[in-house]
Amino acid sequence: MEDTLLLIATMASATLRVATPLVLAALAGLFAERSGIVDIGLEGKMLGAAFAAAATAAVTGSAWLGLLAALAASTALSLIHGFASITHHGNQVVSGMALNIMVAGLCPVLANAWFRQSGQTPMLAQQARFGPIELPFAQAVAKVPVLGPLYAQVISGHNILVYAAAVAVPLVAFVVYRTSFGLRLRAVGENPEAVDTAGVSVSRLRYRALILAGLLCGVAGAYLSTAHNAGFIRDMTAGKGYLALAALIFGKWKPVPTLLACLLFAFADAVQIRLQGVPVPGIGAIPVQLIQALPYVLTVLLLAGFVGKSVAPKASGIPYLKER
């Protein structure tokens, strides 16, 4: 009983930690795609932000300055994407992919140049990272059966960015569904002409959406290098941007279903870590590579079959050009 509870608590806690960057990146994608801009560049923005955060934190010793740098870097990348795809009507997938490739190459090069460590930043000291926060009464209620350990071990003890991601979901839902900006955002991804003829600038709306996407990816990147890990390593996003995009599609471009999709993917990841090296009765130990592929196999399966009809914002991916 005690063991099972502990296992559940560990798994749940791991799920939350893995889900955090996914949730933040997926919400970033939500802003972009709801505005009609396909954002395959989530991966690159996160990676760039992770590098900026780690490099700044390594130099200044402050995780907060690192976060600020991450926000700036990621937003800048987002604006490049916007410049290519909004101002110049470029192909959004090509522009996003170009960012991903550029960032993947640029960060290790800069790391080499600045820190003389092959493709990574120096290990961060504990005070240059976002450390765990103990929520009030965690110790006090830990003795309460079931709920106590749940609160103390699953809810409490994460770093601030995990909580930020948790707050971001209802916040994004509020902005998207309850504000004028949200109404326009949803409209511009469906029918930009309707927005334009209603007297609202399509370009400005889309730029604003991309800036929001940049900020959220910035937090996700900072989380990876200064909270979840202690420094930047080459390709540390490892496809999380694409996974977030998949979660967004699985979640039908809606905040709460997207959160659930992220949690599912994160849980699959927590399971695969747990299963590594554990012998399965009758089969023996499964090769690690196979187990590591689990979340991705799940992604493919879900997107291929079990999602049902997932209708993207209608104008997503189409540059807005006035007709003659």
Binding site: R178, L183, R184, A187, V195, T197, A198, K322, R324
Partner: protein, 524 residues
């Protein structure tokens, strides 16, 4: 009355009234195209003002300039007598000019209320403006007879109601002048009548309406004054009561036009096409054609009437072999052409003597980037006549195409030009030439004159009737009732995937057809 005189008489405002809108000396270029040439338009306050012209005459461009969607290269706009500086749609809206576009500017997954709120939310939070908008919608509904359910999703609404939402959007923003661009293209005749009634109510309450259309009947029905445009310029401005359909048509085209040319009685022969209990689904598997049975004989034109979206497109595609049928039988000249083998069927059908002018010429009729001569043989490229050995015989293709272009009055008659550099009417004539010149026994024609100017309409209609007289079977699908009435020897009306009745064009009235198209009445 001549056009020049008419222009002079338009300089003084109407008795005691004022001008709602004056556009003076407007010029607009799109690259090398001079879309508006020194256009001057004056619209009296509290009137319904029609603007007619063929496709590409510059009507829409002029309206887009008034509405702030485009900017004029030169010229001046006065609203209520004051010079207006309109840079974007919001400027026009602020000055009380609202536009109802031909393609609705609605967000389909939104409710009516959300669509009305968009761009005029009245606060950072939606809740702030929502209740006010709801009350205002109710008031507008009462005052103008435009009741709607504000919480209905736009995508679930019939087009007539969607159009109503567009009008409400403009009125909600305080529009004093309402511009409607081809508003009846998607409506049944009854819906169109309701719209016109409503426009008269608006006028009587002091609002100004500008109606852009290419349907002369509508101009005669509802407008007080009409401006005729041709090739980017205004050629006449007349009080509607002093003119006639014939005169307007002549002014639009610049020469005498014979509307609805006459034809001899049909002499139907053997059955060429037999369709039996045909069912066709769309891409989503939704049934669109739901049990259709009819036949077409040699030497007759059968017209299929209906409001767009009632299964005509899918029916035509199934008959053309482009879309597999779900069940039922299709027989062409006695051959079972069946419902299987999708992909192969279009080719087999062509060999059996099928010609097909598809509804959507841009998507299916032509390859825009191909030269005219290549387009002229598409679908027949395997035939020996276009080959020398196993290579295509380019010189011969160009020769044939040049001949057809002369015969079908395609301008410019240069086979080497890319298809996209021709106007809509000339593209259509090229498609028609290709399909007719390969000597089909059955010709399927979808929307023969969509986006085609009057001159070309006249020509295409003559050709179709000549084809019939040569003993061929012709099936025409069109949403233009006038066209169906003018061409058909028998009219089938489609509604909701079924043929709701058959009528003869000699005895059918427009009203009867309209009711059938709306699914209300069956054939008498």
């Amino acid at each position: 009355m001549t056009a020049a005189l008419a222009l002079d008489s338009a300089i003084a405002p109407p008795q005691g009234g004022r001008w709602a809108i004056e556009a003076i000396g407007i010029d607009k270029w799109f690259g090398p195209v001079h879309a508006n040439r020194d256009v001057t338009l004056r619209v009296a306050k509290g009137s319904i003002h029609g603007i007619v012209g063929e496709n590409g005459a510059g009507k829409s461009t002029l309206m887009n300039i008034l509405y702030g969607y485009h900017r004029a290269d030169r010229g001046e706009i006065l609203i209520d007598g004051k010079a207006a500086d309109i840079h974007r749609p919001s400027d026009a809206l602020a000055l009380g000019v609202g536009m109802v576009h031909q393609h609705f500017m609605l967000v389909e997954p939104f409710t009516i209320l959300e669509n009305v709120l968009l761009g005029a939310e009245g606060g950072t939070l939606l809740a702030e403006g929502r209740d006010k908008a709801r009350a205002e919608l109710e008031r507008l509904g009462r005052d103008y007879g435009l009741e709607v359910d504000p919480d209905a999703l736009v995508e679930d609404l019939p087009v007539g109601i969607q159009q109503r939402v567009e009008i409400l959007k403009a009125l909600y923003r305080g529009a004093e002048t309402l511009i409607l661009d081809e508003p009846t293209g998607v409506l049944t005749p009854q819906e169109a009548d309701r719209l016109f009634q409503f426009l008269r109510v608006l006028r009587d309450q002091g609002k100004t309406v500008i109606l852009i259309t290419h349907k002369l009947r509508e101009i005669m029905d509802v407008t007080d004054r009409v401006t005729v445009m041709r090739r980017g310029a205004v050629v006449a401005d007349l009080p509607t009561q002093n003119t006639s359909k014939e005169e307007l048509a002549e002014l639009m085209v610049g020469r005498k036009v014979k509307l609805g040319g006459d034809k001899a009685r049909a002499a139907p022969g053997a059955v060429v096409l037999e369709v039996e209990d045909l069912h066709v689904n769309d891409e989503q598997g939704k049934p669109r054609v739901r049990g259709v049975t009819f036949n077409v004989r040699a030497g007759e034109i059968v017209g299929i009437a209906g409001v767009s979206g009632n299964g005509q497109t899918e029916l035509l595609e199934a008959l053309g072999g482009i879309r597999p049928a779900a069940s039922g039988r299709i027989r062409l000249k006695g051959n079972e052409v069946g419902t299987r083998r999708p992909g192969l069927t279009a080719r087999i059908l062509r060999r059996l003597g099928l010609g097909h002018v598809p509804e959507d010429r841009h998507r299916m009729g032509l390859v825009a980037g191909f030269a005219a001569y290549e387009n002229a043989i598409l679908g027949h490229q395997d035939e020996a006549q276009y080959h020398r050995g196993w290579l295509l015989d380019r010189a011969r293709m160009v020769d044939y195409c040049g001949e057809w272009m002369k015969g079908y009055d395609v301008r410019p008659d240069n086979p080497l030009l890319e298809a996209l550099s021709f106007s809509g009417g000339n593209q259509q004539k090229l498609v028609v030439a290709r399909e007719m010149e390969h000597a089909p026994d059955l010709l399927l024609v979808g929307q023969p004159t969509r986006g085609v100017d009057i001159g070309a309409i006249e020509f295409i209609h003559k050709r179709l009737i000549a084809m019939r007289d040569a003993g061929k079977a012709v099936l025409v699908v069109s949403v233009e009732l006038d066209e169906i009435m003018a061409l058909s020897d028998r009219i089938l009306v489609m509604f909701d995937g079924r043929i709701i009745g058959e009528v003869s064009p000699e005895t059918a009235t427009e009203r009867q057809l309209g009711l059938m198209m709306a699914g209300i009445a069956e054939a008498a």
